[in-house]
């Protein structure tokens, strides 16, 4: 039981050793707090499990970026030939899935180890058990061997994150994989059906297709819902032109295993009310993620969560129970991004243990979708800005552009496009920046800092570019959508 005299075992207990939880724990320790972290990974329906560090490190950003890089490198081999490299039998070049996953998993294991060493070094108690509330100050963890471990803490941070959702269709749990499994899949995925066209689905379909595994994407509503839709179309156009198949307005009906071991998937086009089916080697579900609060026994602590998705609404990361907080993907209505969780976790620790007052600013957080042609953005989409300010009060600057390095290998430039969403009134404060092209993440990061400083179109246009880069295209923006002028670059050598 939680002590009545206020003497707790720990100043802080964090449930969930992912990006947010660990950042909060480390900051708290730096501020002199005594901290324990619980981390436990329940195996996926296909049996995949992993170590300390959370989604990003194990089954998210890190392996995804590495596989994206593997895909880009494959493309580069072919481009290299145009640049004069003599690549023997480059037509026959193919990926060795086993080597790729081994390298990716080895990197992950090294990060897991460094994380464990770091926690021990910082004297953070790491408990590899599934934590749940006994009361508002007490956590019981079920360890791997079934034994229980109980401890009390003054403050508790819920940082359990989320896991992939499985649609309620026959065969989903039995035969389908998710992003939890793909990065350590023991065999090459082969022809793959990706269910869901959010960023996870598109990224997976993108790198699989580039590696030579044919990919089909089932899109329920629109691709990249919530993102700027014009930009989303650029991303999917590029993927389509590279061979990814899109089935729009389609929802899965069933997945069954054939004698051959392959999977027969059926889906329904909800617009035409038509059923379709095809045979795949792998069906990857990417239909959203749910918050992992069910096993927390929140009731025992009196913490409320949203019934439909398990998420916790906590404006300042503080739940309805004052000593219990939440950070990361478990939060309702917040971007599910590692750096967001890290920043929020760190600021929260400073508020808890250093009397700081700074709150997390969830506005203008930049992100990038690592599709074959990447999409980076910060701030408002054109749709959101229009809804908020009205089209008459906005000026949209846009341009197609030709990356210098695309000319020689004659790469497709049709989808290299960027735009700035700004207020119409001078000095035209910028509300959103959007960029589809190579290294979009690298391009958008610096501009995110500029947006944070309140950059205007005037200032952007007065910024001198770095030539020849793709990021300089932002400084060259001058055509507004309203003008109706052609946003295409001059035909040659511009």
């Amino acid at each position: 039981m939680a002590p009545i005299d206020g003497n707790f075992d720990y100043d802080l207990a964090v449930i969930g050793g992912g990006s947010g939880g660990l950042a909060c724990a480390k900051e708290a320790v730096n501020l002199g707090a005594k901290v324990a972290v619980f981390d436990y990974v329940t195996p996926s329906p296909q049996g995949t499990k992993w170590g300390l560090g959370g989604t990003c490190v194990n089954v998210g950003c890190i392996p995804k970026k590495l596989m994206h890089q593997a895909a880009l490198l494959g493309e580069s081999i072919h481009e290299a030939v145009s640049y004069g490299w003599e690549v023997p039998r480059h037509q026959d070049i193919k990926i060795n899935w086993g080597s790729l996953t081994e390298s990716v998993q080895n990197h992950i294991k090294s990060v897991n180890w460094v994380t464990r060493v770091d926690l021990r070094d910082k004297k953070i108690e790491y408990i590899n058990g599934l934590g749940e509330f006994k009361d508002a100050h007490t956590i019981i963890a079920t360890m791997k061997n079934g034994s229980k471990k109980e401890l009390t803490a003054k403050n508790i941070v819920i940082a359990v994150g989320g896991r992939p959702q499985y649609p309620a269709i026959p065969g989903a749990m039995e035969y389908c994989i998710s992003s939890d499994d793909i990065f350590s899949l023991s065999h090459p995925p082969g022809k793959t059906l990706v269910v869901g066209a959010g960023y996870i689905g598109l990224e997976c379909a993108g790198f699989l297709n580039s590696m030579g595994y044919p990919a089909t994407v089932l899109v329920r509503s629109v691709p990249l819902r919530g993102f700027d839709q014009q930009m989303a179309r650029m991303v999917t156009n590029e993927m389509e032109e590279r061979g990814v198949k899109f089935q729009h307005k389609c929802v899965p009906i069933s997945v069954e295993k054939l004698e051959s071991g392959q999977l027969k998937a059926r889906w329904l086009n909800t617009e035409l009310q038509e059923q379709h089916e095809d045979v795949f080697d792998t069906v990857l579900l990417a239909t959203g993620r749910y918050a992992l609060t069910k096993t927390l026994n929140l009731d025992a602590a009196g913490v409320t969560c949203i019934t439909s998705n398990g998420k916790i609404a906590a404006e300042t990361e503080q739940t309805n129970v004052p000593n219990i907080y939440a950070v990361g993907d478990v939060l309702e209505g917040r971007p599910e991004l590692t750096p967001v969780a890290i920043h929020a976790g760190r600021l929260l620790a400073r508020r808890m243990f250093a009397a700081a007052t700074q709150q997390m600013d969830y506005e203008n957080v930049a992100t990038t979708v690592f599709t074959p042609l990447e999409y980076g953005c910060v701030g408002l989409s054109e749709e959101t800005a229009t809804a908020k300010y009205g089209a008459d009060n906005l000026e949209i600057y846009h341009a197609y552009y030709k990356p210098t390095e695309f000319f020689i290998p004659q790469r497709n430039i049709k989808n290299c496009y960027l735009k700035a969403v700004a207020l119409r009134e001078a000095p035209q404060k910028i509300l959103g920046l959007h960029f589809v092209g190579p290294v979009a993440g690298e391009v958008i990061q610096g501009f995110a800092a500029a947006i944070k400083c309140g950059i205007t179109m005037e200032q952007l246009m007065n910024t001198v570019g770095i030539h020849p880069t793709v990021a300089e295209e932002f400084t060259r923006l001058n055509i507004t959508k309203r003008s109706g002028k052609d946003p295409n670059p001059a035909s040659c050598c511009s």
Binding site: Q105, K109, S110, V114, V117, R120
Partner: protein
């Protein structure tokens, strides 16, 4: 080649102090998690004078490394570490034929206490121990000369000028 500079000297002193504390503690409380042997290292069968010590726990480390009559090169190793796959076999090749120098391989996944005691933050890491005291170390994949130089010094051979 002299490796010890002021910085590394500080490191040694600190490590030796920490080490004795940690090792003493571990002797009082036997560690619960013994390394399993599923990742058996292939050991060459020809011309082996001297089997590499695959450190399974703190006690073994104390007995076979800290209290060894011979100097010991300790290789902190991980299966997921690419450079380790080059360094560990190289060390085995060079040290196993020697009678007056031992090699101990510590899997960092299975020996958290030793990793902590010796402040290993990256692998591969190599420390040289003589009479229970750290006398040399290097981190990462280093020049072949540096490896042979260390081995020669530890084995009491004079370094031949290259």
């Amino acid at each position: 080649m002299v490796l010890c500079n002021a910085l590394t000297n500080t490191f040694y002193e600190r490590v030796v102090v920490n080490m004795s504390n940690a090792i003493c503690q571990s002797l009082r409380s036997p560690i619960k998690r013994l390394a399993n042997l599923r990742r058996a290292y292939p050991i060459s069968t020809s011309l082996v004078h001297n089997e590499t010590i695959l450190v399974k726990n703190n006690d073994e480390f104390v007995n076979k490394v800290m209290n060894s009559d011979k100097p010991v090169i300790v290789n902190f190793h991980a299966d997921w570490c690419e450079p380790c796959k080059i360094l560990t076999p190289k060390l085995k090749e060079l040290i196993e034929p020697l009678n007056n120098l031992d090699l101990a391989v510590v899997d960092v996944e299975d020996n958290a206490d030793l990793v902590h005691t010796f402040e290993v933050k990256a692998v591969p890491a190599v420390i040289a121990i003589k009479n229970g005291i750290i006398v040399d170390k290097f981190i990462g994949l280093v020049d072949a000369d540096m490896i042979t130089g260390l081995i020669d010094r530890m084995a009491g051979k004079k370094k031949e000028s290259a």
